[in-house]
């Protein structure tokens, strides 16, 4: 346990050796690299980066639920998929533009998550987690079997990129990537404002002791539902971006595997830090691509990674960095 004193000394040392501007340098460098990526990287790299950013959005949203409110769930893949399919169906089958379909799809995900979260969140701990696991599988079976609606195992084709806004086009990998990057930055800022607000403090109190939270007048059930719905609509929004960036949807993309991945990203990076899950998303996406030639090895890699994290640094990558004195 890092005591207050020690961390004070650490921050003092930081201030002594690195002026304020330099502490922001890594963020600035990363932002510049990300924004200029399409200029020098191959379209394959840009494509993988876009997928990583989409996962980062989902994982950051999920951190509100797992890291800040302390509720373990396994259904972000379902909300990601509902967002993707809703937007795809509205644009392709009904001729809506992306800018009409996207908000409707996000609202629809919010509605579904509220309907499911309201009864499910009455369960606690593992019971809640198992319920969400089966929800994710149920939604996957709908994607797979409702052929008339989703195309079933043949996939859903012909999804167009978002319509241009004035001079801004979203066609092609580079432009799609920039839209995703822009969305990622906006969502990150919004989530950061949320977790640092008074509502964030209430969520953190629920994660630590929900009996005490309830007894000091906090409507625990309502705040749990709020954080469940927030994490769902963030995933749903990422899903709509995915659909119009990728152009084709296939049910296996939204199987239980994706939901597990989001949990692993969040834990590997460090739940309750918001930045941690984003780093986790980057690492997991990279390893997924790296092991593309041997999909079976992925499962073993995950098992080892997860056990190692739980054994050596339960607070994830961010916990490790903090222990090394980087703030």
């Amino acid at each position: 346990m890092v005591s207050r004193n020690k961390s004070n000394i650490n921050s003092f040392r930081m201030r002594l050796f690195y002026p304020r501007a330099i502490r922001f340098l890594p963020i600035v460098v990363i932002m510049v690299i990300l924004i200029t990526l399409p200029l020098y990287a191959s379209s394959y790299i840009v494509f993988v980066a876009a997928i990583a950013l989409l996962y980062a959005i989902v994982a950051a949203g999920y951190d509100v639920l797992l890291g800040y409110t302390g509720q373990l769930s396994f259904c972000q893949g379902a909300f990601y998929g509902i967002g993707a399919y809703t937007s795809a169906i509205l644009t392709v089958n009904y001729g809506w533009s992306f800018w009409q379909a996207m908000p409707v799809a996000v609202l629809f995900v919010g509605l579904i998550s509220a309907i499911i979260g309201y009864p499910a969140l009455r369960l606690r701990g593992a019971y809640f987690a198992v319920t969400t696991f089966f929800l994710a599988h149920f939604v996957y079976l709908i994607f797979l079997n409702e052929v008339s609606l989703t195309g079933g195992p043949l996939g859903f084709r012909g999804i167009r990129p978002p319509e241009p806004i004035g001079p801004l086009s979203f066609e092609g990998i580079a432009n799609g990537y920039l839209l995703i990057l822009f969305s990622f930055i906006i969502i990150f800022i919004l989530l950061r404002m949320l977790v640092n607000s008074n509502i964030g403090l209430i969520l953190k109190s629920i994660a630590q002791d929900d009996v005490l939270a309830e007894s000091i007048g906090i409507n625990v059930a309502a705040y749990k539902l709020l954080s469940f719905v927030i994490s769902a609509i963030v995933a749903g929004y990422a899903g709509t971006l995915f659909a119009h960036f990728f152009g084709i949807l296939h049910p296996t993309t939204f199987s239980w595997f994706l939901s597990e991945m989001v949990v692993i990203m969040t834990l590997v990076g460090g739940a309750g830090t918001l930045i941690g899950p984003i780093l986790g998303a980057g690492i997991v996406t990279f390893i997924l691509e790296f092991l593309r030639f041997a999909p079976e090895i992925r499962y073993i890699a995950w098992a080892i990674a997860l056990i190692a994290i739980l054994m050596f640094e339960p607070k994830g990558l961010m916990g490790l960095l903090k222990r090394m004195g980087v703030r």
Binding site: M1, I199, L212, I216
Partner: protein, 243 residues
């Protein structure tokens, strides 16, 4: 202000609270005493909604609050502390009390108001020096203090304190008695305490309710209770007189 009528709660075959009735008026300092397992904590849990009674009614300012969710009962104006200390370990003392103020005034209240409210309570309980300490690094005694501070940040009208003084030394007990008297007299908070420290009970409270096997054995002023034969036999043991 608080009216308890015919409260009954069983766990399996054990009747923890049996047809208990009492009233508390505004401004009183009431103690509930009794041997271990007499049903004192269960009574608190029934009043604050952590348990639902099998039978009986709890009224607060004439409003039936029986079986409401704990957060609603808290918002009605009943605060509490727990027998086994409960606290948010990863908060600083300031954050811990602040979350109480946020709960009382809503998350959209002015930040200055919330911070002032938290600062006031922290100062009142003598926690200013530990304001930025993580709650997990505090002693049990200080954790209890933080729990009380958080309950006070909610501006309760009635406060239920469950063995607040267990494990304290005589000086600390005297400090607490003074503090609780001040809260009662200056801030108008009605108190119901469950306490084993008889010295504190006798000094602090103007009325005592004695429970035994879930029922009310006796009720009266400290002097009446101290000389009541039934109480002496059941609670203090036969042949012992309270000095």
């Amino acid at each position: 202000m608080l009216k308890v009528m015919g409260l009954t709660k069983s766990f399996g075959k054990l009747v923890a609270v049996n047809n208990l009735s009492f009233t508390v008026s505004e401004g009183e300092r009431v103690a509930i005493i009794g041997p271990n397992g007499a049903g004192k904590t269960t009574t608190f849990n029934l009043i604050t909604g952590h348990l639902k009674p099998d039978r009986g009614v709890v009224e607060f300012y004439g409003r039936n609050i029986t079986g409401l969710k704990p957060y609603k009962i808290c918002r009605a104006g009943i605060g509490r502390t727990f027998q086994i200390v409960r606290a948010f370990p990863d908060f600083t003392v300031f954050e811990h009390v602040l979350v109480g103020a946020i709960s009382r005034y809503g998350p959209r209240a002015q930040m200055d108001l919330l911070k002032n409210q938290a600062e006031n309570v922290i100062q009142k309980l003598g926690l200013s020096a530990k304001k930025n300490t993580l709650v997990r690094n505090l002693t049990i005694v200080d954790k209890k203090r933080v729990e009380l501070a958080t309950a006070l940040a909610l501006k309760p009208k009635l406060l239920l304190l469950d063995e607040l003084m267990a494990g304290l030394n005589p000086t600390e007990i005297d400090e607490y008695i003074e503090l609780l008297k001040r809260l009662n007299e200056e801030d108008g908070i009605t108190l119901i305490v469950v306490e084993h420290v008889m010295r504190a009970v006798m000094k602090l409270c103007n009325r005592i309710i004695v429970m035994h096997y879930g029922t009310k054995l006796a009720e009266g002023t400290p002097m009446e209770i101290a000389t009541n034969r039934d109480v002496i036999e059941a609670y203090l043991g036969e042949g012992v007189t309270y000095a």
